[in-house]
């Protein structure tokens, strides 16, 4: 498709690369631009004035600003999965093939049927939702909200996963600088020369700030020349880093700053292996905020007409981008800075229709220029705009004497003064203070280590910006410990500012304060009449400043209007609280690399890849991936696989990777005494070569964790924890060692990852292991009795630790080898067990066998149970003190009616049980009054050929044999179960001792 000519592009000039033409599409039409354009400047160069529709009234809107404060020119950028709604055209760098679409219009931008909303505008006033949709409450979600969201809103989210990557990074520096205008570059020069580590962040892709548009003379040379000289010098300093396309958006505790770097937003998609954006956490000893200031609009009727633009933005488009938003322009200003626009416009060959200056006095020089050039200077205010979606046609002026005038113009530049960017300095609940000479809020203090300089500090002159920036940079470097020679500061003259405050011009028609949220001057007056006078109430009632632009162009004007109608001064009215982020930051950037399979780190067992080869199904248990079961061809579901695995263990032999258990070396002469204090039972009397089951309590008397601990030497115990509590128990024991019992000579080391450990269980377990160990090793009941623990030599030359412990209830060992031999061990277990039908089993079969055996696990060790609840009261030693002993004796914890572990069986043997069902007495009505406990663990028991479970039931042990009711409202089930002994299988333990 043929590109349209760039009808509004100047023949020469600007910081665009005319040798690099780019094509782009906006609302389906193809246009041309140049490298160095933003989407906004390229649209302007193509004569596009209408770029969007407003939030509430669907009014036609044009481009208002040239920066990140833009409230109007929000577009959907890119297409498909990369579509980003509410993207500011003013900061979107143009690239070849860019596609953007206007938002919040239907069916098209020029013919938006939703503009009918304007007819109802009298009812869409402040507080409209609160007043209108009060009732019925259920209508809100079903009807009102969806309807409102359709009509009033912004762009559409892509709706599918973002295909691009984001990451996060840390950076450190002595001096962090926000902004690359004269103050920022001055600060970087001083700090860099002094030898400090400097990071300068600039949100634009070009460095120089307002110098890029407004120029000036620094050290006797044109600003552009000074910028390139300065950048060249900074490039020679090894510890000065300049990050363009990077916005410093927040400041956090301890001198930590948040910044978002748009690494590849200026390309259609990131190059391979690269990220789209990077979130930086920058730790800085000092920070110089040289973030500049934001020019503020004046509120008058029709001030949102496309073609009404901030004066500074007009200069930026003309001078930096060689794009002319207008051919015959009027200027409305209340300050000297606005007059710069005349100079820029004349230089570009534009006609000046008139300058409307609200101040009583206009300098003789300006009047002379006007006379020479031939444009009128009107003392008064713009009170209205005649125009529409095609732009401005006429400006209506209320002259100071009371008369009216009209000016024909196709554009209007507005300057109401400048507001320092006080965000960063105010993010720790700082409240800026009012400065009369510029009629603006300036920083009043800042978070520790931070200082504002230049326009961000209310100093608007070029010379002042350079002086303040340089001095702040030097001081920051010095207080960070760098005293190198800072050399000569850059020098420039100061321009006059001479502002007479003007916020709002009375007139007929809507006068917008907050463009993005369609808040008008009359909304603010209404809020005041209805009692929402506090600025925080004003904000929430009218939504002033609550759009994605956070009111960068509107907040101060809103406060000023509120001050006027409530008869207070602006400083008395005050500001709302400033909160980061300074700009919207994509959630994807905060997530960084941590999404999808990288959402969190994963832990793999030593046999993981072997299990994967076998086709194991894995389950996430904490960070671990554990084999859940090993399906075989022809098995129709998990239950069939698990049942096979259980039967194989019970009738032959199976093995399971239990390396996920926490393992801790407890060393030292006082190791036994230490364990006596952390476990409820005694370990100091455990013989070397023996293992013992241990239970530890929390300080409050509840059960904390359990596991077996073996004594490998006089001064060396090997303690195991549950998988879930491996980390917390290690922390707990370290706390006990370092803080509670520093007098004990005991050392702890986590060895969880040192050992690959497998449970080998079943009647053939011993026979299997005999294949694996050297002939000299005696594994008989006499040579290796139940709860024995010792090192054994394996055939083929390595040593293992062998523990005769059983979780399954079968004759079983746990064997452990150094972890890098884990993969070999699992293969050797298969080899050694081939003749016995050795079967790998997963966590499901493990769980089935422990329930059959009545062993408690996570669902029972749930933080609300005592040792007695678990049936382990007898383990609590009465001969020693231990953590939790005293608190476990509290009345409620020792009460006779506590819910304790029992077994349950359905009276209907064919019924499936579900954990979570509540236990109520038979015949009672389910409810909290009759609730006597709940089912904690269930399984299908292949051994008993029916579902069985464990439950916590009030006085359960006294009620064995009683039929109770299991009530499961979640799944809509209700059935009878019999309370029984929790040990369903081999209650006398003969098999495991076998």
């Amino acid at each position: 498709m043929v590109s349209h000519a760039q009808s509004h592009r100047l023949e020469s000039g600007g910081l665009i690369d005319r040798s690099a033409p780019l094509n782009f599409r906006f609302d389906g039409k193809t246009f041309a631009g140049f490298q160095g354009d933003t989407l906004a400047s390229a649209l302007i160069a193509n004569g596009v004035k209408l770029v969007g529709r407003s939030f509430k009234y669907h009014r036609p809107r044009g481009i208002l600003t040239s920066g990140s404060e833009e409230p109007n020119a929000l577009v959907e950028l890119r297409t498909g999965a990369r579509r980003e709604p509410n993207t500011k055209a003013t900061t979107t760098e143009l690239y070849d093939g860019l596609e953007a679409a206007s938002q919040n219009r239907w069916p098209s931008l020029r013919h938006d049927l939703m503009a009918v909303n304007q007819l109802f505008s009298p009812i869409f006033v402040a507080g409209f939702y609160y007043k209108t949709f009060m009732w019925p409450a259920k209508f809100w979600e079903a009807i009102y909200e969806p309807a409102i969201r359709r009509a009033a809103g912004l762009g559409r989210a892509a709706g599918v996963a973002d295909p691009d990557h984001y990451d996060k990074a840390w950076a450190y520096c002595d001096v962090l600088i926000a902004g690359s205008g004269p103050a920022g570059l001055g600060a970087a020069l001083a700090a860099g020369r002094s030898g400090a580590r400097v990071i300068l962040c600039e949100e634009d892709f070009a460095l120089g700030g307002r110098l890029l548009a407004d120029g000036g003379t620094i050290d006797g040379m044109p600003a552009a020349e000074w910028i390139s000289g300065t950048l060249a010098e900074l490039a020679t300093l090894p510890d000065v880093g300049i990050m363009s396309r990077t916005t410093l958006f927040g400041v956090y505790d301890g001198g930590t700053y948040g910044a978002i770097e748009r690494v590849n937003d200026h390309l259609p998609s990131p190059p391979e292996h690269q990220v789209r954006q990077r979130l930086w956490r920058i730790v800085a000893k000092r920070c110089v905020v040289a973030a500049g200031a934001i020019e503020r609009p004046i509120v008058f009727a029709g001030n949102d007409t496309p073609g009404v633009m901030m004066a500074s933005a007009v200069r930026t488009y003309v001078a930096r981008y060689a794009a002319t938003p207008t051919r015959r322009i009027a200027l409305f200003t209340n300050n000297e800075d606005g007059w710069r626009t005349v100079e820029t416009a004349l230089g570009a060959g534009l006609q000046i229709a008139a300058v409307v200056d609200a101040r009583p006095d206009v300098s003789a020089a300006h009047r002379a220029l006007a006379g020479k050039t031939g444009f009128p200077v009107l003392n008064g205010s713009v009170s209205g705009v005649d125009g529409g979606k095609d732009g401005v046609r006429k400006i209506l002026v209320a002259l100071a004497g009371g008369a009216r005038a009209e000016v024909e113009a196709d554009g209007l530049a507005v300057s109401g003064g400048w507001n320092p960017a006080v965000g960063l300095t105010s993010y720790h609940r700082g409240r800026p203070k009012w400065q009369d000479d510029i009629s603006a809020f300036v920083p009043d203090g800042a978070p520790p280590g931070m200082v504002a300089a230049g326009a961000a500090n209310g100093a608007f002159g070029l010379g002042a910006c350079l002086r303040q920036g340089f001095a702040a940079g030097a001081a920051a470097a010095q207080s960070a410990g760098h005293n190198g020679n800072t050399g000569t500061p850059p020098v420039a003259d100061d321009e006059a500012f001479l502002l007479t405050p003007l916020w709002h011009v009375a007139g007929k028609g809507k006068a917008f304060v907050d463009y993005q949220h369609d808040v008008t001057a009359s909304d603010i007056e209404l809020a005041q009449r209805e009692g929402f006078e506090s600025v925080e109430h004003l904000k929430r009632y009218t939504t002033l400043g609550m759009a994605t632009d956070q009111g960068k162009t509107s907040n101060v004007a809103g406060l000023a209007i509120m001050a006027a109608v409530s008869g207070k001064s602006i400083p008395e009215t005050g500001t709302t609280i400033y909160r980061p982020p300074y700009l919207p930051v994509a959630i994807g950037a905060f997530a960084g690399h941590h999404r999808d399979e990288n959402f969190h780190a994963t832990r793999l067992t030593p046999s993981h890849h072997w299990a994967a080869e076998q086709g194991a199904v894995f389950v996430d248990t904490g960070l671990w991936k554990r084999a859940q079961w090993y399906p075989r061809a022809g098995e129709k579901d998990w239950l069939e696989s698990v049942t096979r695995e259980v039967k194989a263990v019970r009738s032959g032999v199976g093995f399971c990777d239990v390396s996920t258990l926490g393992k801790i070396d407890v060393h030292g002469p006082d190791a036994g005494a230490f364990l006596d204090r952390v476990y409820i039972n005694t370990f100091s009397n455990l013989a070397v070569g023996k293992a013992r089951y241990g239970l530890m309590l929390r300080e409050d008397g509840m059960v904390y964790d359990d596991g077996t601990t073996s004594r490998l030497a006089e001064d060396h115990y090997f303690l195991t924890t549950t998988t879930a509590k491996a980390g917390p128990v290690m922390q707990h024991l370290e706390f006990c060692r370092q803080v509670l019992f520093p007098e004990l000579d005991v050392q702890l080391t986590s060895v969880s990852d040192q050992w690959a450990q497998f449970s080998v269980a079943g009647p053939s377990a011993r026979a299997l292991l005999k294949q694996l160990v050297e002939e000299s090793e005696d594994l008989s009941n006499e040579g290796f009795p139940f709860m024995g623990a010792r090192q054994v030599a394996l055939r083929g030359g390595i040593r293992a630790r062998l523990f005769r412990i059983s979780f399954s209830g079968e004759m079983a060992f746990e064997i452990s080898v150094p972890a890098r031999f884990g993969n070999a061990l699992v293969r050797n277990l298969m080899l050694a067990g081939k003749q016995f039908g050795a079967t790998p089993y997963g966590t499901e079969a493990l769980g089935v066998m422990r329930i059959e055996k009545g062993h408690v696990a996570g669902p029972e060790l749930n933080g609300t149970t005592t040792a007695a609840d678990l049936g382990l009261a007898k383990m609590m030693s009465t001969k020693k003190d231990f953590i939790g002993r005293v608190m476990a004796g509290r009345e409620a914890l020792a009460a006779a009616d506590r819910q304790v572990v029992v077994g349950i069986k359905p009276t209907d043997k064919t019924r499936r049980l579900r954990s979570g069902a509540h236990v109520i007495p038979k015949g009672e009505i389910p409810g909290s009054a009759n609730d006597q406990g709940y089912v904690t663990s269930v399984c299908f028991s292949p051994t008993l050929d029916q579902w069985i479970g464990l439950a916590l039931v009030e006085r359960g042990r006294e009620r064995i044999g009683e039929i109770v009711h299991a009530h499961d409202p979640l799944r809509g089930e209700s059935y009878d179960v019999e309370l029984c002994n929790p040990v369903f299988y081999d209650p006398d333990g003969g098999r495991q001792r076998g």
């Binding site: 990557h165 990451d167 996060k168 990074a169 840390w170 950076a171 450190y172 580590r197 510890d239 292996h273 690269q274 990220v275 956490r281 730790v283 690399h593 990288n598 969190h600 780190a601 994963t602 832990r603 793999l604 067992t605 030593p606 890849h609 960070l623 390396s659 070396d665 060393h667 030292g668 006082d670 001064d715 060396h716 004990l744 000579d745 005991v746 050392q747 080391t749 060895v751 969880s752 990852d753 040192q754 050992w755 294949q771 694996l772 394996l794 055939r795 083929g796 030359g797 390595i798 150094p818 972890a819 890098r820 031999f821 884990g822 993969n823 070999a824 050797n828 080899l831 050694a832 081939k834």
Partner: protein, 209 residues
């Protein structure tokens, strides 16, 4: 009777593919190398035996064990600070194995073998700091983290022992990471992702350099 072989298998065996990874249009900015076959022993002073352990360590290794977060190297061993009165002994396989050191320090310390509990990854190259800045919150500027600096820290939510080794002959920095074996593959993949844009040269060393 079956013959059993006991091949040692690194936790990175599955994930590590020697060769180039990531961007090819740039000179490889990162070398990621796994080092295998090392002994790693945790030594912790018994109560009140810090000074005794220190002199035993000096006698055994010929250098003083670090008392602050540092890694010190002698000809055949690196001692890495891991906490007050404790350090890790990293050496070529067999040099300072558990049974040998147990004997040397039996009077002053408790020892725990960690040789299989960790994987050792070395990150080097012109972009090593840039890449590690994505994973670690430590300031790696040469003045802040000089050769021999060490930290017990977390990388990508995974706890590691981390220290700066001697620069490569080409002057590029080298950072060493001891990561828990079960986390190794996960961290390795994260490192590859972080490094891909700079071009990665993946290597394997069967012996501690």
């Amino acid at each position: 009777m079956a013959e059993f072989s006991w091949l040692s298998r690194s936790p990175l065996e599955h994930a590590l593919v020697v060769g180039a990874h990531g961007a090819r249009d740039v000179a490889s900015g990162i070398s990621l190398t796994e080092v295998r076959n090392f002994n790693l022993i945790q030594i912790m002073a018994r109560r009140g035996k810090g000074a005794e352990l220190a002199s035993a360590a000096t006698a055994r290794f010929g250098v003083a064990a670090p008392a602050v977060p540092k890694a010190v190297s002698a000809s055949d061993v690196t001692l890495i600070w891991s906490g007050p009165d404790q350090f890790l002994v990293l050496s070529k396989s067999g040099k300072h194995a558990m049974d040998i050191l147990s004997h040397a320090f039996s009077q002053s310390a408790s020892l725990s073998d960690q040789s299989h509990a960790r994987a050792l990854i070395s990150v080097a190259g012109a972009k090593a700091r840039t890449m590690l800045a994505k994973l670690s919150s430590i300031d790696l500027h040469p003045t802040a983290f000089p050769i021999g600096a060490a930290a017990a820290t977390s990388i990508d939510h995974t706890s590691v022992n981390f220290w700066r080794g001697n620069d490569r002959p080409d002057g590029q920095p080298v950072f060493n990471v001891l990561v828990l074996a079960s986390f190794a593959e996960s961290l390795w993949r994260t490192m590859l992702d972080a490094a891909a844009e700079y071009g990665v040269d993946i290597g394997l060393s069967e012996e501690l350099g």
